[in-house]
């Protein structure tokens, strides 16, 4: 982990328009353990955020802004990581606002495309070669334009099996357990069929 003295030195070099200081700092910030620290702080502020792309972009934007205008950081007021986390938080908030603006019906930060059992998210890491994660997300949104369906899909992908969890999303908790079970099954089957149909279309085009 870089020391405060190291950050101070890099900061001074950035203020002096040093040529390699931006690269040296980026190489440290975008790797463990600094990246982990930043992500932990952002996760604390955005516990429901499940879009790694948004998170990464906010960190990158905050870092880029600092590299270009290092004067905005005052080392006497806070640590560098604290400063960067705060800047990334601002960028993240703006990104979320923009996304909400374009996708009023679907708050993207609530959409989770991950498999907890597999300990991975469907993004650049797990996509096959040539498959763009953004495009994939877009396809899923098109497939399930309703937020409720996305929430159910999220639960299915997380390996959730309890009827109560799905009933909560469907807002049918007041119904009898048997009615809840039937309705949940109906929704899950519908989503599964839609996914299967989509899968067939994709395979046909491969």
């Amino acid at each position: 982990m870089p020391t405060d003295a190291w950050y101070r030195e890099i900061h001074e070099r950035l203020l002096a328009d040093d040529a390699t200081a931006p690269a040296e700092l980026a190489e440290v910030v975008l790797k463990e353990p600094v990246l982990q620290l930043l992500i932990q702080r952002l996760r604390r502020d955005f516990p429901k955020l499940n879009d790694p792309d948004l998170l990464y972009d906010s960190i990158i934007s905050a870092l880029m802004n600092y590299l270009k205008r290092p004067v905005q950081f005052d080392s006497t007021k806070r640590s560098f990581i604290g400063f960067l986390a705060m800047a990334a938080r601002g960028d993240l908030l703006n990104a979320l606002r923009q996304k909400r603006h374009w996708k009023k019906e679907i708050p993207l930060e609530d959409v989770e495309l991950l498999s907890e059992a597999g300990n991975s998210w469907i993004g650049e890491e797990t996509c096959q070669e040539g498959v763009d994660s953004q495009k994939m997300r877009g396809e899923v949104y098109k497939l399930f334009p309703e937020l409720r369906d996305l929430e159910i899909l999220k639960l299915i992908m997380a390996g959730e099996r309890k009827t109560e969890a799905f009933a909560k999303v469907l807002e049918i908790e007041s119904k009898s357990p048997e009615e809840q079970r039937r309705e949940v099954k109906r929704h899950k089957d519908r989503i599964q069929k839609r996914l299967e149909r989509y899968g067939k279309v994709v395979r046909k085009h491969e």
């Binding site: 040529a19 390699t20 040296e24 990246l35 790694p52 870092l63």
Partner: protein
């Protein structure tokens, strides 16, 4: 629920930063992209020409774009070339050419203070007071 899984040593994260740097005139990556575009060459070819590997090319891209009007241009290029590492003379050649190209296009660059200045105001011919690595 509510968990976010990330790969902390994701090399693609650096790559993502490099990709953004390549579109931003603050970074040397922008000049590398302009040069590539002009010569229709890919990363491998550019790396070969600069006598470095692809990893070094990414490191170069994240450096600050040296100002050829600045008195420390020669020092900056040497520092970057050592950091990459890459061939310093080739890097100077690349930067001079990119400044000329951009000047012809009438593009603007961002100076150290964040203010925009026209590239055409620069002196692409190496006749400035910055010294010239090529003369060495």
């Amino acid at each position: 629920m509510g968990k976010l899984f990330v790969n902390m040593n994701n090399p693609k994260l650096i790559q993502r930063f490099v990709n953004r740097a390549r579109k931003d005139t603050f970074f040397l990556g922008w000049a590398l992209s302009v040069y590539q575009e002009t010569h229709s060459i890919d990363d491998h070819q550019l790396a070969q020409w600069l006598e470095c590997d692809l990893n070094a090319l990414d490191r170069l891209a994240l450096c600050r774009l040296p100002d050829d009007k600045s008195g420390k241009f020669q020092h900056d290029v040497k520092q970057i070339a050592k950091f990459g590492p890459c061939n310093a003379d080739r890097l100077v050649q690349l930067l001079r050419e990119v400044v000329s190209i951009s000047s012809l296009r009438g593009e603007v660059l961002e100076d150290a203070s964040g203010l925009l200045m026209a590239v055409r105001d620069r002196k692409p011919g190496g006749e400035d007071d910055s010294g010239d690595t090529e003369k060495e």
